[in-house]
Symmetry: C2
Amino acid sequence: MSFAVTILGSSSAKPTADRHPSAQVVNVHEQHYLVDAGEGVQQQMIRAGINPLKLRAVFISHLHGDHVYGLFPLISTLGLYGRRTPLPVYAPAPLGEMLEAHMRYFDTDLPYEVEWHEVRTTEHALLLGNRTLEVWSVPLRHRIPTAGFLFREKKPPLNADKFKITKYGLTIAQIAAAKRGEDVLLDTGEVLPNDEVAYEPYAPRSYAYLSDTAYSAKAAELVRGADLLYHEATYAAAERKTARQRGHSTTEEAAKAALRAGAKRLIIGHYSSRYKDERVLVEEARTLFPETYPATERSTFTIEKQRPEKTNRNAPTKTER
Amino acid sequence: MSFAVTILGSSSAKPTADRHPSAQVVNVHEQHYLVDAGEGVQQQMIRAGINPLKLRAVFISHLHGDHVYGLFPLISTLGLYGRRTPLPVYAPAPLGEMLEAHMRYFDTDLPYEVEWHEVRTTEHALLLGNRTLEVWSVPLRHRIPTAGFLFREKKPPLNADKFKITKYGLTIAQIAAAKRGEDVLLDTGEVLPNDEVAYEPYAPRSYAYLSDTAYSAKAAELVRGADLLYHEATYAAAERKTARQRGHSTTEEAAKAALRAGAKRLIIGHYSSRYKDERVLVEEARTLFPETYPATERSTFTIEKQRPEKTNRNAPTKTER
């Protein structure tokens, strides 16, 4: 029941010898989702020990080259590996046209389908929902249409409290009712409220990816309560004007977004190539938001399971809306 | 007056953690030419200490993704670096169309021109000629239209023999005549044959790039006398059948091509991902052609200047045709 984010690229548009352009893999219960696909992403996945064949879907935030150039070679190589499962790609327009052009020139006999799903970058919409996960778009403020992504684990099934099962001698039918969230009618006629006999094993976890973007209070509100927030910090605080002109954020703005979102931890990245050592950026952000960490390539941030707050059990959790 | 080849990629279509897809930089008198542009080439250039802005031209052998996917991000980044000089790209069709598609989606405001020059892959033709260099296409045998490239240094200007200048008391006009290749008329009425007073300071050097290809005697003949020959060796000798089916070569076939061409040194590369250690491939090739070396990424092969053979001075050199 893992929930983890592996950083594959940390640079902005100009890569350096050590930093690759934007790409991450989000692992939710061993389902792998690629978020942005900068050049070299297929090799970075191999280096990080992530099998590219295992990708469940791809999410592209916007169509600047440093977020998407690695997608086309990845698509080709998955064909060479013999992938058969369709690959959904969630991205703004005109990715559909780009994929068509790509297929025309390079991958006419691909053994699997690439399915483009348009992300409308002005909407906070549910893009993908399955048994364990929802992925939502988050409108961002960049030079071209751009969306962030919010990965929210679904509430896990309720567990029945073993101590109570024994205490009341509950039958299989009564336990099943408790796990469905129902109150339990005992043979004595007494009714056990559901939250006395069943409990959420852990609180649903969430990860928000906000890049590329200028500071947006609205985006921060939309990812409220994220356990882990990735926010770009292309520039140091002193470069606020440059950041604004280019639709990017400073370290301070990333920290401000984390505060506004009430995030537990912040990862910053998408560093301009002018910063040889990202520690100066991390230190700046930490003055406002101490739980800031650098996007270091091939490092993994794990969100551990936590017990839900008891009082919240039957109410929507903090990250729900 | 350097003449050197730096390997930037050594893998075949599936990159590995350590091997990048095909790309090399040929440095002729500090003019840099990119040969093939697999994914990640811009980063590999930076790692090898080669300034991407210094590229004089690009040569693409064929339009399989592992030889060209790195071109598009490179074009974008050169724009970010502020390149103003046009970039000639020599490649088979339909690269022109691909570039148009690329410009439409990604680089509408590029500050320099990308000039596509079509390489006709069935012709042995002069593609580029300048003061110091000629680059020729070499038809190859692959699954799609493919050309290799022959880099041939032009004959350097003649030097005048200092000993003879003193001995005969030559004037500046007489020295200039000797350097132009003329015989020298002395004041005594005696005629000094040019090759007694002038000499070639070094023999023109040549490098041939033959990839991707099945064994081709014709291609080997066309690059006859190459000081350095890169020939793909995707497979070990035992995989001859697979190699043939896929339009590739084995180690033995690469060595055979080097023998046929009378090359001085052979580099093999484009290794299939099944070979974790390329030494087995190099050893196989060496049994036939001892001067075989592996394409190791970021390694440089320098062709040192050599005195021309005296008897050949006024005749075409071996690599000329």
